[in-house]
């Protein structure tokens, strides 16, 4: 790891950083004062890591205060308490809810050094030129606004971004292969009576409804026009199927936080459930077999990014841009990718990963030596390959994005009823 040490000085030597230096105002004058700057960041647990805050202090000099909350609480805070944060680390579907409030400010892409290297998903929506765009709130549809002060979304790359993409992944069902003992290939298995009392789904309406839709569609019960933007009738039918399953005792528990999902799976309470990638690795690192099962219907994907509070200005704003550029310059990307997420600028992260790690996590190659996460836990032995394969295999199979719908109010009430049913 020592060769990967990263500082302002070393940054200036690299080509990518030369761009950053020309795009940013010279930071010489406030080199002293920057130590006094504190930026308050909040977001979901996935990327609010203390390691990142420590590294920021080392590399950039200022203090980053992190607060981790669940998705609902994040939305609530971003929408109602704009002065309580400087940086919002939120998901794109949350952005669709929060952006119209004007609590976040548009970001000038000309100040983002690695903007051109950001993967296509976050720019024109296409992973590769041939890709089709999945249903739901695809990040590029809420990624740009008309200009400074804009509260709208525009379809094209306008030069003003709402969120700077930082982290994303393709989600599927997690299973305990040792307790199931047969291949699982479809989302429909979540409601298979074989797993009665041993299934779980997450209780975050915007994400849970998508998992539910993937299941209902896979069962052949409902054909959706657009899973990411259901009609009230589609919502009713989806929730009816889920409620019926719930009353029949299909679900062992619902989960709301990352840790709950890990505990349910690790303790054997649940053998099949909606899950997030690092939760799988957390279960595996306890020596318990757990597979992030690729399914024939494809993945439900999500993406997160950093938004800046509209009250941020002057030196703090400059520091925030510094932070964003640093975020995309590789260290964080490597840190996140070694936990199973993807970086928005994968190529910069490559320098911060060993060839074995890059091969395992990004290229889907079998590991040549044991793969560890940044905390030292062994996640894969030599010879094992990542569930689902390479970056392009996984992100190319996305069936829908986490979404917020036009009928969101209605969906939320129906979801609440489902949870209470």
């Amino acid at each position: 790891m020592t060769k990967m040490r990263y500082s302002r000085r070393s940054l200036l030597k690299t080509g990518a950083a030369a761009l950053a230096a020309s795009a940013l105002p010279a930071p010489m004058i406030w080199a002293q004062e920057i130590k006094d700057i504190t930026l308050r960041q909040f977001g979901t647990g996935v990327s609010n890591l203390n390691e990142v805050a420590q590294k920021v202090k080392e590399d950039l000099g200022f203090t980053l205060e992190m607060t981790a909350l669940d998705s609902d609480a994040v939305t609530q805070r971003a929408a109602t308490q704009p002065d309580s944060f400087d940086i919002a680390d939120i998901e794109y579907w949350i952005c669709k809810k929060v952006w119209p409030t004007g609590n976040l400010q548009a970001m000038d892409t000309s100040r983002i050094a690695n903007y051109d290297k950001i993967v296509g998903i976050f720019r024109d929506g296409k992973l590769t030129p041939e890709s089709t765009i999945a249903q739901g709130t695809a990040p590029h549809t809420v990624g740009f606004t008309s200009g400074p002060g804009g509260t709208d979304f525009v379809a094209e790359e306008s030069g003003w971004m709402t969120l700077i993409p930082t982290i994303y992944n393709a989600d599927t069902l997690g299973i305990r292969p040792d307790l199931i003992g047969r291949p699982i290939e479809s989302w429909a298995e979540l409601l298979n009576p074989e797993f009665k009392g041993k299934a779980s789904i997450l209780d975050i309406s915007s994400i849970g409804i998508m998992d539910a839709a993937m299941v209902c569609e896979a069962m052949g019960e409902i054909q959706y026009g657009d899973k990411g933007n259901m009609t009230t009738d589609e919502i009713d039918r989806t929730m009816a199927i889920m409620t019926e399953a719930k009353r029949a005792g299909q679900f062992r528990s619902f989960w709301k936080t990352f840790d709950e999902s890990v505990n349910l799976m690790a303790s054997g309470e649940v053998v099949i459930q909606s899950m997030w990638s690092p939760a799988i690795t957390a279960v595996k690192s306890r020596g318990i077999p757990c597979v992030y099962q690729p399914l024939k219907e494809g993945y439900r994907s999500w993406g997160g990014g950093i938004g800046l509070s509209s009250s941020l200005s002057g030196m703090e704003l400059d520091a925030a841009y510094d932070y964003i550029n640093w975020y995309l310059s590789g260290w964080v990307g490597g840190f996140l990718m070694r936990q199973g997420y993807y970086s928005a600028v994968p190529e910069t992260s490559k320098a911060f990963m060993s060839e074995n790690e890059w091969g395992y996590w990004f290229e889907g190659k079998p590991a040549v030596e044991p793969v560890t996460n940044p905390f030292g836990d062994v996640l894969a032995q030599a010879g094992e390959a990542r569930d689902g394969g390479s970056f392009y295999d996984r992100m190319g199979q996305v069936a829908c994005w986490n979404a917020v719908m036009d009928e969101n109010q209605y969906m939320v009430r129906k979801w609440n009823e489902f949870i209470a049913a």
């Binding site: 619902f254 054997g268 309470e269 049913a421």
Partner: protein, 309 residues
């Protein structure tokens, strides 16, 4: 010396109203002193209890969009709330939890208090055992509740013990994430709230009454039923109010112990707040408040606590 009934004195002990004093003697009278003494508590209650409740009532008539609440006068929230069969089921569930928990904590609380008050003769032991009852309260009640989860789980201690003893051959699923586990946690958390007031009233019972009953030829059970029980009614009632209000207002125990599979009214409110539906959450709160007050009202009709204390 029986312990003071600290918890109760605060809520029911309003200063006695002296007869109206003539205006000229107003400053010196007990009447004014009484009002002045009551003033700080009144102000605190107004600011931190009455005003927030009024606010909740007002907001319950507002409407909400996804991320803002809009002042209005609309019955929409109540219409949705009272028009949904889920609400009624959840309300019924809430009452069910309260009733079952109440019954179990009452039996347990009464037994423990009876043992402490009448069977333990030495006052040192009485105090020691009473303090022992409070030891679990030294840790957070969420931790006490969550520690049940690994114990009751499918591969938890309880199931592995039952399996190894050969009592069952399949792990029992209903031990965790069920109504059973919810009520178990409630009983664990709230029995002490029953023990303390019942113990308190039992200690005030004049022992000569028990002797008199004995002399008159009453059996142990007859004494218990005809003498002790009626005299402990105020304690039971206070314990009941504690347990019922705590269980009816709970959301976290139901959330964790049922694995979100069951719901009570508190969970409805919590979900609404999580989804930024403040007006709807307020309307649900108002409904819960009304129901709880009705229950308390009925309880207070049964026993005049102020008279009997």
């Amino acid at each position: 010396m029986p312990p003071e009934s600290i918890t109760v004195a605060g809520s029911f002990g309003t200063p006695p109203l002296a007869e109206r004093a003539p205006r000229q003697r107003a400053l010196a009278s007990n009447h004014v002193t009484g009002w002045l003494l009551a003033l700080p508590l009144t102000l605190v209650l107004l600011a931190f209890l009455v005003l927030p409740i009024l606010m909740i009532v007002v907001v319950s008539f507002w409407t909400a969009t996804e991320f803002s609440i809009v002042p209005a006068f609309s019955f929409e929230n109540y219409e949705f709330l009272l028009g949904s069969d889920v609400t009624w089921r959840v309300l019924l569930n809430t009452v069910k939890y309260a009733a079952v928990t109440w019954a179990i904590t009452l039996v347990l609380g009464f037994t423990v208090a009876y043992f402490l008050a009448f069977h333990v003769r030495s006052q040192t032991w009485q105090t020691t055992l009473f303090l022992l009852c409070t030891i679990p309260f030294w840790t957070s009640n969420i931790i006490r509740m969550i520690s049940w989860i690994p114990f009751l789980g499918r591969e938890g201690i309880a199931n592995s013990a039952l399996l190894s003893w050969g009592v069952v051959d399949q792990p029992l699923d209903w031990l965790l994430f069920s109504d059973f586990s919810v009520i178990l946690a409630f009983v664990h958390l709230y029995t002490l709230f029953m023990v303390v007031p019942i113990f308190n009233t039992m200690m005030r019972i004049d022992r000569s009454l028990l002797e008199a009953a004995n002399d008159a030829g009453a059996s142990g059970f007859q004494t218990l039923w005809n003498v002790v029980l009626p005299l402990t009614r105020p304690g039971i009632m206070i314990g009941t109010i504690f347990v019922v209000t705590l269980v009816m207002g709970d959301f976290i125990t139901v959330r964790f112990m049922s694995g979100s599979q069951s719901a009570n009214v508190g969970r409805l409110i919590q979900n609404d707040i999580g989804l930024l539906q403040y007006p709807s959450a307020s309307a649900t709160s108002v409904m819960l408040l009304v129901v709880t007050l009705m229950v308390i009202g009925v309880l207070l009709r049964l026993v005049n606590i102020r008279k009997e204390l």
